[in-house]
Amino acid sequence: MSDTPTRIPLQSPLGRVRGLGSAKQGSHHWWIQRVNSVAMVPLMLWFIISVATMGGKEHAEVVAWIGHPLNATLLLLSIGLAFQHAASGMQVVIEDYTRSEMVRMAMILAVKAACALFGVLAAVAVLKIAI
């Protein structure tokens, strides 16, 4: 790569940082991921322990458990946060290892579409039982 300037920047370095930098989104994606993670810590503790007690249970018992308002609420929160967390985590992985802009964009959109699809599907299943 040549070191000759190919364009004269009209933006100061400070302005570039304030203008959300090269990632175009500043720290927003990073911050949302942290907020999401903090919320998921207690939810995951509840989820793992709860599902562990579901082992070998009959259909009627499992449906009764999912249908309890408190369990349904926590399940919906877990599903929403888990798929949002998965989508943004996978996005970072794809951004790190993909070179071509088109491939990267296509993969990120595919992951987001899959996460939206399966997240809503899981939520509909919980709501169908609970309501």
């Binding site: 790569m1 040549s2 190919t6 920047p9 082992g55 499992v62 449906v63 599903i79 888990a82 985590g89």
Partner: protein, 137 residues
């Protein structure tokens, strides 16, 4: 990757992470890679959660099919793996949040928290399956 410096000159930058440069079997890099791997594994594992919920909503027959898979040898092996993955990523995530808050960057602390994540994952996975066995029995 070709990027630009703030003065507009072009610069060739490597893609992160630099896979060839580091010894990846250290506890620091090993756990970092494992945190990513477990995150990806959980993304796939979520599909089994969706299956379980949809089967429960669809009725006893669909649920019996899901239950048959989850209580098969392969299913239990997969669920056991997912339990370890879930605990590792949760504990590793707490470790990352601690770093994000600005604590624990020095090497002795990093090694200590890293070992804590590994031991915690093993202990909590076994405890979780004790609950499974007691609930099942």
């Amino acid at each position: 990757m070709v990027g630009r410096r703030t003065d507009g000159t072009r610069v060739r930058r490597p893609l992160s992470p630099h896979l060839q440069v580091y010894d990846m079997m250290q506890i620091t890099s090993g756990l970092s890679i494992a945190n990513r791997a477990t995150g990806i594994a959980w993304t796939v594992g979520l599909l089994f959660l969706v299956w379980w919920l949809v089967a429960a909503a669809a009725g006893p027959r669909a649920f019996a099919t899901a239950q048959w898979f989850f209580s098969s040898f392969l299913g239990i092996l997969m669920l056991f793996g997912m339990t370890a993955v879930a605990w590792f990523h949760t504990l590793g995530g707490i470790r990352h949040l601690m770093w994000d808050a600005g604590y624990g960057y020095d090497l002795p602390t990093t090694y200590r928290t890293g070992r804590a994540v590994l031991i915690g994952t093993a202990v909590l996975t076994v405890l979780t399956w004790l609950i499974v066995i007691i609930a099942w029995g």
